[in-house]
Structure formats: structure tokens, C-alpha cells
């Protein structure tokens, strides 16, 4: 809503070494989550094919290759 461009501070977080480590861990976790949705066939989730079948339609419509 506010249209005052000049007064608004830029969001530029400083990236410390600690932030980098946290970011790396977060990225690994998020990639695992994306893997579970898009590619897992029970190998990681230990759910058999249940999660795979449950998210079947989403996978097709998200453009991921499927059986």
C-alpha cells in the first residue's frame, strides 16, 4: 500500500557464516520435502506407496515424471 519509495529501507540482510550454515541446513530440509512430494516411492518416507499414491495427482499436475 505505502507508495513512499525513497523512505523505505532496503531489505538486505547481512549474511554471516552462521547464517550460511543455517541456510544450508534449511535448503537440505526443503529439498527433502520437495523430494518426498515429487519423487519418493516409499524409500525415504517408509510409508510404502501410501504417500506416493496420495499425492499422485499433484505430481502429474506439477509436471514431474510419473510411472
Amino acid at each position: 500500500m505505502p507508495k513512499i519509495e525513497a523512505a523505505r529501507p532496503l531489505i538486505t540482510p547481512a549474511v554471516s557464516a552462521r547464517t550460511l550454515w543455517i541456510a544450508a541446513a534449511v535448503v537440505a530440509g526443503l529439498l527433502l520435502l520437495a523430494y518426498l512430494v515429487a519423487f519418493d516411492q516409499g524409500a525415504v518416507s517408509r510409508s510404502g506407496m501410501y504417500l506416493h499414491e496420495l499425492m499422485h495427482d499433484g505430481r502429474h499436475l506439477l509436471g514431474v515424471p510419473c510411472h
Binding site: L10, P13, G48, L54, D57
Partner: protein, 264 residues
């Protein structure tokens, strides 16, 4: 460069939280799109799969086998609900990745406005992660695809995703490598050239995959692919806009001194 001025920039945690929230919103809206426009196509494709399977069963004289709902692990209704779980979780993952990319890359980006920076990153992801793979390996509905080649197809798909992202990155580097003060068209041409070079090499090197049976209705295949593309475009468009909106609120109420004291 003192871009942040005398105010403290918000931390990674504050940005990440907003990314996850924007991702959830984007994933659920993409789910609504997929449910409304994609599910009828998935149903039609499964009906074709079913009819083919039934025909085979009758031809073999085997009456004991079926792919009906009763013996499926998850019913069709369950899968339609699971669609929202899939797009929601996928959106959360992409939202977190976008927020992380923003945190790590923001200072290197030559875009003044934060909202535009977020939209630029989301646009780059849409191009590299969705559009480049879509042209080489367009998504297929159920009843298309040989189960025995799934590993090969998955590896090829992931390869083109990586190539797409590298191509976008190379385009940015190439357009920046042009000397300062050069005309806009020169920088755009350099970026476009680098992008096309990498994408074309990727397209040529990766194997062609075409497992669409000759009997599958072409119009259904086409409309499925369009709705699949629409689902992914919805996800990245909403994700970019939502994170942009959430961050602009964050910067509007951001107070100097304490970066994570913002309550939204």
C-alpha cells in the same frame, strides 16, 4: 555500499518464515487451479487407462484382475484431496527456497526495489525450473509413460531442471559482463545468447522421451499439458507476489535496532 542505511535489516528467520507462508498460499492456490482445471483431465486419462486394462483382461480371458477403486491403496477421492497436500507441501518447499535465495543473493542483485527483486528471482525460477523443462519434457497424464523407464525419465528431468537454472544464471552473468554504460539491447542480447546456448546444448545432449501411445487422444494430451503448465505458473506467480507483499509489509513496519521484533 550502505544499502540498508541506518535501519537494521530483518534477519534470515523473518524472511524464511514469510517465504514458507507465501509458499503455502501459492501451493494451495495452485491446488485450486489444478483441482478445477486439471482433475477432469486426469479423470479422463484414468478412464482411458482403465478401458485399456479392461480390454487386455478380456483378451487374456482373465477375470480376476482389476484396477478398480476397491483395491487401490488410495481412492480417487483421496488422491484429489492429496492433490492439495502435494501442491501445498511443494509450495512450502519452493517458498522456503525462494526466501533463502533472496537472503543470500539480495545484496548482489542490481535491482533497487525489494519487491522487484523477489519477483525477479521468482521469474528466474519460473523460467529455469518450469518453462525450460516443459519444452523438453512436457508433463504427461496418467496412462502415458512406461513404468520401466521411470528412473531414466526422472534423471533426465532433474538434469534439464539444473540446466534451466544454470542457463538463467549464465544469462545474468553474461548481461553483466557487458561493459558499463552499454546500450540496453546489447546487454539483453548477451543474456539471451548465453541462455539459449546452454538451453540448446542441454536439449540436444539429453535423450528424447516420447512414450505417448498412438491411441491416446491428442486433444486430451494437449489440454492436460496446458493445465499442468497453468498449475506451475500459478504457483510461482502467486509465490512471487505473496512474498513480495509480505516483505513490503515487513520493511514498512521494520523498526531500527531490533530486527526480529516485527509481529505480523
Amino acid at each position: 555500499m550502505s544499502l540498508s542505511g541506518n535501519r537494521t535489516a530483518p534477519g534470515y528467520g523473518a524472511i524464511l518464515l514469510r517465504g514458507l507462508l507465501a509458499g503455502l498460499i501459492a501451493g494451495l492456490l495452485a491446488g485450486v487451479f489444478a483441482y478445477s482445471f486439471g482433475e477432469p483431465k486426469v479423470d479422463a486419462a484414468i478412464a482411458i487407462e482403465q478401458a485399456n486394462a479392461d480390454a487386455e483382461v478380456h483378451a487374456a480371458g482373465d477375470a480376476g484382475h482389476s484396477h478398480d477403486d476397491e483395491d487401490a491403496l488410495v481412492s480417487r477421492d483421496g488422491q484429489k484431496g492429496g492433490l492439495f497436500l502435494a501442491t501445498g507441501l511443494y509450495g512450502v518447499a519452493m517458498g522456503g527456497l525462494l526466501a533463502t535465495a533472496y537472503t543470500l543473493l539480495r545484496r548482489r542483485m542490481r535491482i533497487r526495489d525489494n519487491g522487484r527483486a523477489v519477483l525477479g528471482l521468482a521469474g528466474g525460477a519460473l523460467l529455469g525450473l518450469v518453462l525450460v523443462p516443459f519444452v523438453k519434457y512436457p508433463p504427461n497424464p496418467p496412462a502415458v509413460g512406461d513404468p520401466s523407464t521411470i528412473n531414466q525419465r526422472t534423471i533426465s528431468y532433474l538434469s534439464i531442471v539444473v540446466i534451466g537454472l544454470v542457463a538463467v544464471w549464465a544469462a545474468v552473468l553474461a548481461s553483466r559482463s557487458v561493459r558499463a554504460g552499454a546500450a540496453e539491447w546489447l546487454r539483453l542480447t548477451a543474456g539471451l545468447g548465453a541462455f539459449l546456448l546452454i538451453v540448446v546444448v542441454g536439449y540436444v545432449l539429453l535423450p528424447t522421451i516420447d512414450e505417448v501411445p498412438g491411441t491416446f487422444p491428442p486433444s486430451l494430451l494437449y489440454s492436460f499439458r496446458v493445465t499442468s503448465l497453468g498449475t506451475q505458473v500459478t504457483l510461482w506467480l502467486v509465490l512471487g507476489l505473496a512474498l513480495s507483499a509480505l516483505l513490503s509489509r515487513l520493511s514498512a513496519v521494520n523498526v531500527p535496532g531490533k530486527s526480529d521484533s516485527v509481529s505480523v
